[in-house]
């Protein structure tokens, strides 16, 4: 009889429950089975729960949620060389096909056949055991605990955003959004030698946290009346003036997906600057395209992570350059998973990163 494997399942929209599943089998000789220790909750998990889809990924059948996890290796396939049973690891939750043109050219985050935890139809990590390719598991140095291990995923997202932005030392970096991704981008930019990091948000408390974290300066945009695009342009001018950004920031990292922020970001970039879209909001927005053109901006999208991001993220945390513990505000036992999700959904002030412990 298969050992038990409790799992937190999204059965259909707004319907979650803990179910008993079989222990997952290793899918190839290169797989390992991880006994999951901690899982952070991401906005995308909440979105699938509440709306049942993100873009073309549609919930058609039940999936186990969760993708930001760490744990202990419980079993290794016969071809595994980099890990052994007992190793403490962080899990990179998207394993690509390795054979398509995108994979072969080093852009595996764009592989259409990626098996990504908790993206329909794939099961996620909120179960006792999770199978994953061994090269998508990274050992945790002794000084990192499992909670920090579960924070590697969003940190890797921030590392990728900064990689896409091609950040260099001594640049000015303007980050819209002071949620987990926004503040992690601010912290990574700072570690990478940014001359000045500015954080923008509509929440005063989040901004104050950002100031204590990676941001050198913060800005709370006022509510302006009149034409929305003109308002965004005014906000951009205020940011540039108040935060000493001159003609504009060298780099803008947009981590909210909110239309006014996207517009302000374009207006606040310096001529020849770089703008990276990381946040996800409305699929189509009003975009200041002439400004982007005349000011010769480089505009890029950023999604998930690529080679090197996970090892960099582990190093940033293990070396103490980024303190991810400070981002964790609430902790729940596995049995309380639904409560944890409700808390994230409620978006209360003071709630930042919520952790769910694994099954013992």
């Amino acid at each position: 009889m298969a050992a038990e494997n409790p799992a937190f399942v999204l059965r259909k929209v707004k319907d979650v429950a803990i179910e008993q599943r079989g222990v997952p089998k290793l899918r190839s000789d290169h797989d390992v089975l991880v006994h999951v220790a901690q899982t952070g909750i991401c906005g995308s998990d909440v979105h699938y729960w509440q709306r049942g889809r993100i873009g073309d990924f549609i919930l058609n059948s039940p999936i186990i949620l969760g993708h930001e996890s760490s744990g202990t290796v419980a079993e290794v396939g016969p071809a595994v060389k980099n890990l052994k049973v007992g190793d403490r690891v962080t899990i990179e939750p998207g394993v690509p096909c390795r054979r398509c043109d995108y994979c072969r050219q080093g852009a595996y985050n764009l592989c259409a056949d990626t098996v990504f935890a908790a993206t329909p139809p794939w099961d996620g990590t909120l179960q006792k055991f999770y199978p994953v390719a061994s090269d998508y598991c990274y050992k945790l140095p002794d000084q990192m605990d499992f909670e920090e291990g579960a924070m590697v995923e969003p940190t890797a997202v921030a590392v990728q955003i900064c990689k896409v932005a091609d950040l260099r030392a001594n640049q000015t970096v303007l980050v819209f959004g002071a949620g987990p991704i926004g503040v992690l981008c601010q912290a990574v930019a700072k570690v990478y030698g940014a001359k000045k990091v500015v954080g923008v948000d509509i929440s005063q408390s989040r901004l104050e946290f950002a100031k204590s974290y990676g941001a050198d300066e913060i800005f709370l945009p006022p509510r302006l009346e009149g034409d929305p695009v003109e308002a965004s342009e005014k906000i951009a001018a205020m940011i540039k003036e108040k935060c000493g950004l001159g003609d504009g920031a060298d780099v803008v990292l947009e981590c909210t997906g909110a239309e006014p922020c996207i517009q302000a970001g374009v207006f606040a970039a310096r001529k020849g600057g770089t703008y990276v879209q990381a946040g996800m909001g409305k699929e189509n927005i009003v975009f200041p395209i002439t400004t982007a053109c005349i000011r010769a901006l480089t505009i890029k999208g950023s999604i998930r992570y690529t080679t090197g991001c996970y090892p960099s993220a582990v190093d940033l945390i293990a070396s103490g350059k980024i303190d991810v513990k400070r981002l964790i505000t609430n902790r729940f036992r596995f049995e309380e998973a639904e409560q944890a999700f409700e808390l994230v959904k409620a978006s209360k002030e003071g709630v930042f990163k919520v952790m769910i412990a694994g099954v013992e």
């Binding site: 398509c100 043109d101 072969r104 050219q105 080093g106 852009a107 080679t307």
Partner: protein, 355 residues
């Protein structure tokens, strides 16, 4: 009665033989594999080198190994997960299988994979046999108007594509290629296809230069016995390169050519090392530094190179037919190796076994 997979094998340094090996089969755990019936195989300098010296660098022939890696053939059978080719399809074969799991593979530079399994690099068997197995994504379907003979030239053409990518050749560039052997000639052809307005082939052999001029070079330059600096000066003046070429490719491996290249590049120009000769040479490092040159190596090919080579041939932007100067039967393989060693012709193809 036998295995029915006749193979041309390097037994040990200097000794080749024919042997009937088992016919490969698709394994259950490799559903992406394809078995190709090899029809044409070109001979490369590296094949000759292993045959003559028994090693290249630290790759040593320690056990009998099938030779050959520049091949095209017809798909014989496919694994259960294969979707892009079917039995009967004519394909160019990319002969190096990377691990797909290491950092180099995942960052898009699989040619640098430390666990690369490359045909006819010890200990991996090559393609001079009736059948060869490789994964689907390393088989490239040839359009119907591209012959299998041309298919066998896709490998060296891919080398040239990779070299030119390393050189970042752009429309309007002036490019010099040292060495008018197959790789050098193909570099000229690719550079031209990519919009280089000056493509200059350099060699010590008049016949090769004649061919290069008719083939893809806009001008040629005959090396003489002179210092590298003098040679560079003469090159720039004879071919109107002004202050120097934008990109220089060395496809010769010869020390004097490598030195001349550095002196013949304009400030800020790009140098690509494609040829392989002496392991260590005397190098004009001051000139390289003060001229702020970009110096790059080039090794085999990686993502996109094979596909682009097939497309360049298919659309007529590069032509490879002229490079095929000999075609021999499988049983005559050893003689073909001797001919290539004696520098006869440009590219000799060995046909797949028929009997």
């Amino acid at each position: 009665m036998g295995n029915q997979n006749p193979s041309f094998i390097l037994e040990s340094k200097g000794k080749v033989k024919f042997e009937d090996r088992p016919v490969p089969e698709i394994k259950d755990q490799d559903p992406h594999d394809v078995i190709v019936e090899v029809k044409f195989t070109g001979i490369c300098g590296s094949d000759i080198h292993y045959w003559q010296e028994g090693h290249i660098g630290h790759y040593i022939v320690e056990a009998p190994m099938v030779l050959g890696h520049e091949s095209a053939g017809v798909v014989h059978s496919v694994g259960s997960a294969v979707t892009t080719v079917k039995p009967g399809d004519e394909v160019a074969m990319e002969p190096g299988i990377p691990c797909r799991r290491c950092v180099r593979c995942k960052e898009g530079r699989y040619n640098l994979c430390p666990d690369m399994a490359f045909a006819a690099t010890p200990p991996i068997d090559g393609t001079l046999a009736r059948y060869y197995t490789l994964p689907e994504d390393f088989c490239y379907k040839l359009p119907s108007h591209v012959s299998l003979e041309e298919g066998a030239l896709v490998e060296p053409a891919s080398v040239a594509v990779h070299v030119c990518r390393q050189g970042d050749i752009k429309p309007g560039d002036s490019v010099v290629v040292f060495g008018a052997g197959p790789v050098g000639l193909l570099c000229c052809s690719v550079a031209k296809a990519w919009g280089a307005t000056k493509v200059i082939a350099v060699d010590i052999n008049d016949e090769r230069l004649e061919f290069a001029k008719k083939y893809a070079a806009t001008a040629v330059f005959r090396s003489q016995k002179e210092s590298a600096k003098d040679s560079a000066k003469r090159l720039l003046s004879e071919t109107n390169l002004g202050g120097g070429a934008d990109v220089i490719i060395d496809a010769s491996g010869a020390e004097i050519c490598i030195q001349t290249s550095i002196h013949a590049l304009r400030t800020g120009g790009t140098y690509v090392q494609a040829g392989m000769g002496k392991d260590e040479i005397v190098w004009p490092i001051s000139a390289m530094g003060t001229k702020e040159l970009n110096v790059k190596g080039s090794f085999r090919y990686s993502e996109g190179d094979y596909r682009l080579a097939v497309e360049l041939i298919s659309t007529g932007r590069i032509s490879v037919k002229e490079l095929i100067t000999g075609k021999v039967k499988f049983e005559e393989a050893e003689q073909a190796f001797h001919d290539v060693k004696a520098a006869k012709g440009i590219k000799t193809l060995i046909m797949g076994p028929t009997a």
